[in-house]
Assembly symmetry: C2
Homo-oligomer: 428 residues x 2
């Protein structure tokens, strides 16, 4: 049996241990939900206060230039690029993931339709993050296309050239939000390209969680989230990447003044900015963007320690430990591991299915100060899930031990069956 003392020793020997000091972790809380909302970096409060009182309060309109507000989407985009295998001037931080997805999926559909007018189908995964499917559904309705939803293990066959002749776009989230399973981005992109299909990747659960190599995989478009692993704060602006070979092929439909080639000329005709700049639309929320900058700073400190490669190594060690401890301590309690055991197929979270009681079990854990989250199943192939996010910047090995011990106690004692844990309510 793996002991708490052993886990404490792992923390002592962890070369990334000091990174945790960058964050304001509420005392007594074991927070395994950084894949939903990242923890507050220590530097953020002072920086946001400075933006409010000095840059806005004193600088006022002059801060658009003097404080660099106007270029912030590009500046932050360049920093995100370094985490996802993209180059400089290829990423902008802006808008929400859903809206950025609309932009790139529109562009991809236009490119597809332009080159192959009979390609009118979008393929995605049935358990993809729902908002991605809603955006795709809406765009397909607009463009007269169809959205086909498949299981993960059906994707390769659907991308066989003989099956995919009418497919324009493969739209996938790199790491599945429900299961923590990671797609092989390079292999699926190669298969898509062999069939003449463009790829759109949602990096919501991978950017900042593990190394992503968009250019290496030959991907076409990507979007991602600023408030999960990037620690940008609630609802922080998202990001969008377009491969340079596609960036200037079409307008994207949300063509606003921040994406204009000459935004201050105020001409009545739209002329898109060169490169990724045309994926900007309207004025961005500067306070929230400033907090995102502080979130990105927390990765800079990891650079001399090996950056995303070292963070990935720790993430896998944390999830291995979680899986091992659940097997050791919660056997016979009806939990099924949903997250793949193979490292190459695992994101940075561990998900456990249970036929019943998953909601109440998570409520009982939260009451004990262990925060993960619950995701409802569909009553069929996709069961109810307990989800535990492992964020190597600030999660320790002893945290994992304590979390599983609480889980063991909640299950063994039947505590989760108390009525107060069974009141269903909105959770995010």
């Amino acid at each position: 049996m793996t002991t708490l003392e052993h886990c404490q020793q792992l923390d002592q020997n962890d070369p990334l241990r000091s990174l945790r000091e960058q964050f304001e972790l509420p005392p007594g809380l074991i927070y395994l939900d950084g894949n939903s909302l990242g923890v507050l970096p220590r530097a953020t409060a002072a920086r946001v206060a400075q933006v409010v009182t000095e840059e806005w309060g004193q600088g006022l309109i002059r801060s658009w230039n003097k404080a660099g507000w106007f270029d912030m989407p590009q500046r932050l985009g360049d920093r995100i690029a370094g985490l996802i295998g993209a180059g400089p001037a290829e990423v902008v931080a802006t808008d929400s993931t859903s809206i950025n997805l609309y932009k790139v999926l529109s562009a991809a559909l236009l490119i597809g339709r332009h080159e192959h007018p009979t390609r009118l189908r979008v393929i995605s995964e049935r358990s993809n993050f729902p908002t991605d499917l809603y955006i795709a559904e809406g765009l397909c309705n607009e463009h007269g296309g169809t959205l086909t939803l498949l299981e993960a293990d059906e994707l390769q066959a659907a991308l066989a050239p003989e099956s995919a002749h009418d497919v324009a776009v493969l739209l996938l989230t790199h790491v599945n939000y429900r299961t923590g399973a990671m797609h092989d981005m390079a292999a699926l992109t190669a298969a898509a390209h062999r069939a003449g299909v463009l790829t759109v990747w949602d990096l919501a659960h991978s950017a900042g969680a593990l190394p992503v190599d968009l250019k290496g995989a030959g991907a076409d478009f990507a979007v991602g989230c600023g408030y999960k692993y990037l620690n940008g704060g609630p609802g922080a602006p998202a990001f969008v990447w377009v491969h340079p070979q596609h960036a200037e092929r079409f307008w994207q439909p949300l063509a606003g003044w921040w994406g204009h080639a000459a935004p201050f000329a105020f001409t009545p005709d739209y002329k898109p900015a060169p490169g990724i700049g045309r994926y900007l639309c309207g004025t961005q929320p500067i306070l929230s963007l400033s907090a995102l900058a502080c979130g990105l700073d927390t990765f800079s400190a990891a650079e001399p320690m090996g950056g995303m490669v070292a963070l990935r190594q720790k993430s896998l060690a944390l999830s291995d430990l979680f899986i091992e401890l659940v097997a050791q301590r919660c056997a016979g309690q009806g939990l099924t591991l949903v997250t793949p055991l193979a490292h190459a197929q695992r994101g940075s979270q561990v998900c456990l299915a249970r036929a019943d009681g998953a909601f109440a079990i998570m409520q009982a854990l939260i009451a004990r100060g262990v925060i993960g989250d619950f995701r409802a199943g569909d009553g069929g192939r996709h069961p109810d899930i307990l989800r535990f996010g492992l964020t190597p910047l600030y999660t320790g090995f002893a945290d994992v031990w304590q979390a599983v011990e609480h889980l063991r106690q909640v299950l063994a004692s039947g505590e989760w069956q108390r009525p107060e844990f069974n009141r269903q309510q909105a959770v995010t």
Copy 2:
């Protein structure tokens, strides 16, 4: 001649004078650019700090429910509704003005096309805010429609039923950003409806600046800005209103999870929320939304003093004074008043055209601590403009006197011709 002492007396007698104390006005600055970026309310810094350190830092994911983050677009929307003649549950604060315009213009075009398949034209004003025209241009390209740009005095004729048989939507900004001229919303909406045309109003320069009566005018759709007269901070989220009779007629195309009828059910199919809720898309920037809430609070203090009606009265008195002082003190300096003299046609800004030197004159004023802004002309019917925003919540009569005195000195001395004021650079 109107004296400074007289203006100081006007400030003394101003029943709204105490409202200025709600704001952090930089000492020594005369800020006449609240129509571009509103001033920082005193309460904002502490509130944003609380959201960062307590709600995010301590509450973490639990704050989506406990701190009311999730309902913030609706809660703020209800408060904005009170400023624009809309009802409860008809407005949401979300995204940017450009993106909200895309939503409502898409919906309006769909309604138009559904009812009259031959209506494929959008009419707007050539000097409408350019980003509105870009969004319209993009949507017309997508939908096979055309965008017709007219001068303000050509609109009524274009809306004659015999001319407008192929027009789907009239898209106008209520108060023109360049000239400060205000359209007659009720009359133009009535003319549009007689011709079977739907109306989309951009309230960027009127919400919070003057009473707006969307329902009274029978308008169909509206959007507006959070960071100008609403004092929400740089890039604050915008708002969107849809007349209840249209709200549920179509999806809008940016169909994300926040606009789903059951956002936490995570179902793969989109089912739009009832009412205005379906105009939400992705997760919103909570820090920036929290600052917008503080901006809206500055209007609450005005309620017992007569609210928007009293603020409008003061705004007109300020712009009357500005116009009168320019006539008295800057005669013969080549300035032409562009803003209408008639109150019913005037927004809350005064704009002066000059054949040459307008950019340098504004730079010289800014160097003196008088902040307005410059808007370039088109070399034709629309000249270069000096723009002065008058924000009755915090602008005083003596401010106006001092601003015009600086303008007089800059012109009379030729100070504006100094080389340092003639370097063109980006201005917002």
